[in-house]
Amino acid sequence: MNGLDCWVGIDLGSTTTKAVILDSEGAILGRGITNSRSNYDVACAVARAEAFVDARFALARRTLEADAELAPRTELLLPVIAASFAEAKHGAALDALRAELLVAARNDFYKSWQPALDRVLGEIVDEMEVRAPALFVPGAERKSDFFRDLASSSFMQLSEEAADPGTMPQDVLIGMFDKAIIKVENQELEVSFEEHVGQALDRLLEAAGLEAGERARAAELMEYAVGMPLQERAHVGTGYGRARLPFPKASIRSEILCHGLGAHATFPSTRTVLDIGGQDTKAIQVDERGIVTGFQMNDRCAAGCGRYLGYIADEMNLGVHELGPMAMKSTRKVKINSTCTVFAGAELRDRLNLGQQREDILAGLHRAIMLRAMSLLARSGGVHDDFTFTGGVARNPAAVRALRELVTENYGERKINISAASIYTGALGAAIFARRAEDADESTEEAAA
């Protein structure tokens, strides 16, 4: 079987690590994301692995759609396979969590809480396992894509229920979790793709969603997609942590250039790009070639970035996903003053105590963030058509709404692009750089030959 050439871009962000795989046509084959964690190599490897899995799905989709018989069943097959795969990964991580929790509980420091500690921890994980499948029903809403967030949220809840101030303080349980989760997320968990395709197909068969003949055909096609060798020709890294990537210097690009290029590739007529990530905000102006002509970024202070929302979400015991939709329900304007991320939590509490609605407060917070972004945009040269909003915060509908309002109020009507995959913009730019560099090398080689 002839393999497929591909190029990889990796954006090692402060909060999330993203990977994008391009094929020889420059089309996106796969995307992967994970939370950046203490071990950058692992984060990088996980994002890359996820992107390759995603690429497999893309190949599978291509194959299925090209098959006369199965094409109509694509939308039935793929989500189930994906969900099954995700659930399996989650299960593997839970296993690891269980093991690490028990290791943590062995520490002498916690001797006085034993043996109850082991038991309570075990019960919590049992319950987490029980709840897991519900998370992975195709189409289910999850608080986050990341194991850390999902596990943390249910652990918090379960540990609160299990805790007792005298005999088993919640602080102790949380302490166990904090210790264990670091270990878990720094392991690369092996989950076999092939195996889960098979399981998913069986499940569909059981649920009578699929006929036996279709199953066989599907298995055949999937085997092809899964077996296709993917040859990584080159990679480029970018992002906040790029200096720490295990790449040679030539394979590292400034994140500003990558974001500019990535946005240009997605929306060729874009001239202004705003990227709001976990702890930095960039306003970039690009020309018709995607070349950066001006930029501004915040520094020294993380006020008004994605982390700010993260703090607020923690404070309210919500996932970052839920903040935007909640803020969209606001009916009254509230002006938020805190510029500091850490103080925002305190202000939130103050205002809740004053009886303000949390929807309104949240809307005010989103506007506050966007006001800061507007300043950077103004500094970088304004907002020009088309305007593209990228980065994780572009996934947040309330942030997008606040931005739209402010842009229109201050610059008039602008075409605003928001790509569903906006969080991958930097990684995409990096992948394009990887492809280009390779082209350039080849052309020189050819010239020399």
């Binding site: 400034s254 250039l257 070639r289 070349i291 002509t293 500094r379 040269g381």
Partner: protein, 429 residues
């Protein structure tokens, strides 16, 4: 400028160090020799007039920047803040106050005598006024104020000149006479002004040598050394003339040899970016800062900071035939006394005249006189010249405000951007 000569240096640099060292020595000896001292400022200084009364000028700004270069300023600034000075204000002032409280030991390690006169000839910055009001609380000495109007309307008018000349005649000169017991000698001033004009000629030649490709000098980092004598105590002196002659021949030799500027980290051999720079440098990390440019083969061909003590390259010369009026016009014409449109014009002209690839603003936290409006300058100059502007932020002598990683990141991204824009259309599409 004395202690901090770069590792690799020209002969002129040694000469500069020598004459400045002699000046500090003369100051230290003042209690014995009976010489009187006038504290005064660089922009709009009246050196010839001061010297005509045989007084020695002391320039607190220079002391402050020297402390910065010798990494003492951080302590001085903190000391002043402990005394109730705000974190927010100009660090030159705080550095000076801290140094004063620490015994007023100058950059050569010798004591700087107390002032006999605080000569507040303040051009282009309100902080100067506060500075000497503060010093006046420390020293029981005479203070003379020379109010130099701002070129708000973009020009020097006769009324401004007359106002200054009247102040010189009625308040500054009488104070000088009172402090020294000598009487004003207009001819003596004229003689000195003639000497000044001579040095000014060579100084301008040196600055403009950067129009050559490759530029033989660095007009910002290197320029800081070239302005030393003429901006401080050496106008109207033979030592000043000698220094600039020597410098000029050195530059001529470099041009003839097709050589780039000498930097502490080595000689620039492959000039890749020609930049015009606006704003004062950071002193606490001066070498580190310069090295970032060196590593990218970026040469600063012109700068506005080297004009704070006069816009000689725009034609101004001290004029012995009209001494007081000439001093008045000098004070009025210093860079920080220009209004914003004039500054935009000047920088745009530099970009064209020096064939620059870009211009960079180093915005310092301390100095509102420079900084307020720089973002407008950035956009206007970009628009007028079509070359990209860069923007970095630091401070003069407060080491807490120098983030090397940050500045390097911005500088690199900026230069990468210039590089990317150089490529013909299509090459990257």
């Amino acid at each position: 400028m004395t202690e901090t000569v770069p590792a690799q240096r020209d002969a002129s640099m040694a000469l500069q160090k020598k004459i400045l060292g002699e000046h500090y020595h003369a100051l230290a000896q003042a209690p014995e020799t009976g010489a009187k001292t006038a504290y005064t400022f660089v922009p709009g200084n009246l050196t010839e007039l001061i010297r005509s009364f045989d007084m020695l000028p002391v320039l607190p700004e220079i002391n402050a920047l020297q402390s910065g270069m010798r990494k003492q300023s951080g302590d001085f600034v903190r000391e002043a803040e402990k005394l109730g000075h705000s974190e927010d204000v100009c660090t030159y002032v705080k550095c000076d106050i801290g140094m004063l409280k620490g015994g007023n030991i100058g950059p050569t390690g010798e004591h700087i005598p107390d002032p006999d006169l605080l000569l507040l000839s303040y051009t282009g910055c309100f902080t100067f006024m506060k500075w000497f009001e503060l010093l006046k609380q420390e020293y029981d000495c005479e203070i003379a104020m020379l109010h130099v109007p701002y070129q708000g309307g973009g020009e020097i008018t006769q009324e401004m000149v007359d106002y200054i000349v009247r102040q010189l005649e009625e308040s500054v000169i009488p104070k000088l006479e009172k402090v020294t017991g000598k009487s004003f000698d207009e001819d003596a001033v004229s003689e000195r002004l003639a000497l000044s004009a001579q040095a000014e000629e060579d100084f301008v030649y040196v600055l403009e040598s950067a129009k050559h490709r490759p530029s033989p000098i660095d007009g910002y980092f290197g320029g800081v050394f070239y302005i030393g004598p003429i901006f401080s105590a050496f106008r109207g002196t033979q030592a000043g003339i000698d220094y600039y002659q020597a410098l000029r021949s050195e530059v001529d030799a470099r041009i003839a040899a097709g050589k780039g500027p000498v930097t502490p980290a080595g000689e620039v051999t492959d000039e890749r970016y020609r930049l015009v720079v606006e704003g004062p440098p950071n002193w606490t990390h001066f070498r580190e800062f310069w090295k970032m440019f060196y590593e990218e083969n970026a040469v600063c061909v012109a700068s506005t900071y080297t004009k704070v003590g006069g816009l000689y390259d725009r034609g101004f010369r001290h004029d012995p035939s009209k001494p007081l009026e000439s001093l008045a016009r000098y004070c009025l014409g210093c860079y920080t006394n220009l209004n914003l449109p004039q500054r935009v014009d000047l920088i745009s002209d530099y970009v064209r005249e020096y064939s620059a690839d870009g211009f960079l603003i180093n915005s310092v936290k301390s100095c509102n006189s420079f900084s307020a409006g720089q973002l407008v300058i950035l956009r206007e100059v970009e628009e007028r010249t079509g070359v990209p502007g860069g923007f970095i932020e630091s401070d003069l002598v407060d080491p807490r405000y120098f983030s090397a990683a940050n500045i390097k990141n911005r500088l690199e991204s900026y230069l990468q951007m210039i590089e990317q824009r150089r490529q013909p259309v299509g090459a990257t599409g």
